[in-house]
Symmetry: C2
Subunit: 418 residues, 2 copies
């Protein structure tokens, strides 16, 4: 069977399964999640064996150490997967709730019912634990899933898929509600993102170039997560103790995450006092600073930032630093150079705080808090399938609700339009 035929078969099966999953009860979907957890727990040996095959092939193919690391399924990784399944089963079911029910002048009552999207395609790279995470969130929200993981994790993903199928079977749901693409052929991705008849949305999880390519070529809507060029702005008159704590946490808590601060903006009035103090703390933490001329004038050890630095998502112990005249310049800088991900102001002034909230065009805008809080768990979503840098549909951390849609429901008593 060629790839196109194979993917269409997978797509058709997913579309059919989606109807059954959408019509299933909350109890049934939770049962599937918990039975899959038990199946994974019982299959630790088979998982380890499949994973060892992937790792061996990876080493033979010369994969680098970080990639092999992400590929490995340790007993601890498996524990986390099991725990994740229990947690998702315990979350409230988003499907079926009816809200905003109002009576219209015609007498009909109109409201909105939350419903699954249908078939969700997930495209990801090496981590096999994403298979469980993504499939469980999609199933909980009433969707069928097609998973396309990295080819280097194929054996591990297939072993995990067998356990998920066991869970689905135990709950009387079709096994095709969760399907792992079983070919390493790259054409499978191209096919998956161009089957609007069978796939309702694509969630790519991976590097910027993967996501950009998928967005460009997809004929199916994509929930994108591009880069996080996040800012903290220390406002005129800010509490400098608070500002320093937030600026340090936003940069140094973790370097490789998308909600890490990449550029610090400081109001001119505060720069002479706060910059030397921060420069010292960053130096102690091993963070390299690249600043504008005004910053260099205050702290001569700071290296010069180039225009490119303002666009940079370092994901590393490097920080761009700019002195600005005040709020207006800060907002203009963020809206120009930022990536509309997460930005925070440290201020005592209510009016300026509210202007920052309104006028910074980012998925998360914060007052007096570290950008590191931009996260599905910290926002109380209970889980996260990704962080959207799009504006349509879902913006910011995407939880179960982002995997659903709302349709209009109308309750009449025989009304006709006159």
């Amino acid at each position: 069977m060629d790839v196109e035929q194979y993917m269409k078969t997978v797509g058709r099966a997913a579309r059919q399964a989606a109807t059954q999953v959408a019509a299933s009860s909350t109890a049934q979907r939770n049962k599937a999640l918990l039975a899959a957890r038990d199946a994974l727990d019982a299959a630790r040996e088979a998982l380890a064996e499949a994973n060892a095959r992937d790792l061996q092939r990876g080493r033979d193919n010369g994969l680098d150490a970080p990639l092999l690391d992400r590929l490995e399924l340790t007993p601890a990784t498996i524990d986390t997967m099991l725990e994740g399944l229990s947690q998702v089963a315990a979350l409230p079911d988003p499907v079926g709730s009816i809200t905003n029910m109002n009576t219209m002048p015609s007498g009909i009552q109109v409201g909105k019912m939350r419903v699954p999207l249908g078939v969700v395609g997930i495209i990801y790279e090496s981590r096999p634990n994403v298979t469980v995470e993504a499939a469980s969130l999609c199933l909980k929200s009433g969707n069928a899933t097609i998973l396309r993981g990295g080819s280097e994790a194929l054996a591990s993903n297939c072993a995990i898929a067998a356990c998920l199928a066991e869970g689905l079977r135990a709950a009387g749901l079709p096994e095709t509600a969760v399907q792992v693409i079983e070919t390493a052929d790259r054409a499978a991705v191209g096919q998956l993102i161009t089957m609007p008849d069978y796939v309702d949305v694509i969630v790519p999880r991976g590097g910027k170039s993967l996501i950009e390519r998928i967005s460009r070529e997809a004929l199916v809507p994509v929930i994108k997560h591009l880069d996080g060029v996040c800012h903290v702005y220390i406002d005129e008159g800010a509490d400098l103790g608070m500002a320093s704590a937030i600026a340090m946490n936003a940069k140094t808590h973790r370097y490789g995450t998308c909600n890490t601060m990449e550029t610090l903006l400081v109001a001119l009035s505060e720069a002479p006092e706060v910059l030397p103090r921060l420069a010292e703390a960053y130096a102690a933490a091993g963070v390299e600073l690249r600043g504008c001329e005004q910053a260099q004038a205050i702290v001569p050890q700071i290296a010069a930032a180039s225009e490119q630095d303002w666009y940079e998502e370092y994901l590393a112990p490097v920080l761009a630093l700019k002195v600005v005249a005040g709020l207006d310049e800060a907002i203009a800088h963020i809206n120009r150079y930022g990536s509309q991900h997460t930005d925070s102001i440290v201020t005592r002034d209510h009016g300026r705080a509210m202007r920052f909230l309104r006028e910074v065009d980012s998925a998360s805008v914060m007052i007096n808090a570290s950008t590191r809080f931009a996260d599905g768990f910290e926002y109380g979503l209970g889980a996260e399938i990704g962080i959207s840098t799009d504006k349509l549909h879902a913006r910011g951390p995407v939880g179960l609700e982002g995997l659903t849609s709302q349709k209009y429901v109308v309750f009449g008593e025989g009304q006709v339009r006159s």
Copy 2:
């Protein structure tokens, strides 16, 4: 200037204007709408003159009568435009509301703020009144707009745009918040839908082929409105008086609208009684019936339906008619042949009504009401930019809220992540 350059200039100006519109007050945007209304009222002569030029060129180019009809700006059309502007000004402002504010275990408060999408591109065909309708809804919801109307209406659209610019100026808003594309070059559309840096969403209004082409080629999200293959299902035990009234209204109230019923499904148990009665009423109304074999067995005058009839959006006095065993077959038929637009069940049974609501995968699902109610005004949205047959972002009638997005807002008091 070539088209690409021109469109990029328009796009850049729109992006800049969008920032100013987003930061403007409700009062300012309402003032612009009302001042534009007054400017249009004062410019009736200039509008008539520009419109006459379009009509003359249309006649010279051999446009057909219905197209010339849609192109014409009569005093009554202008009155409707003015009234529309007053109505949109009177609607509540969707922008800025903060909802779902909750305190998290970390102490931060997290909520969602409704914000404009940014720049909305509208692509439409001959009616010049769409220029006012679309621009007013986009402005009210805090967005900048780029309007690409049919080339046959260019003079009329430019005359209208001048009045809208006058309104914007009077309110201290940038005139570039509403821009009409001033070239008839078709390449402008291709450029508009592939500038994600300058355009946030495209709303095409027109025929299916236009919308399909735009969706296929766009690199910007599209709010699609494809066809409406709507169904009414008369359930076992339904009130046949109510059922007949709804079935007649859904088909004959207007033939050319997307929420008009195109296929009627009747439970086998009710068919012998209700079909002869309905066949007579449809015949009296001049509606041609095309039925399945079972329907023909009951009413021999009914023509035979082909497989293709079940997919057809007639937009004409023609109705496909199918006898089904019951609810299961009705739902399966709708989900297979329908276009996920609007479907209604006529029933007395609560359980079956709720199953229909849950399991029919359409933007609007109704109980005991005519499909003709699927409309932004009837749903209380106050206005409508279109009806979405997509699942992501907006589904069903799209009002002001569909032209906005929600961003996360976080209120902290110095919290950092541990």
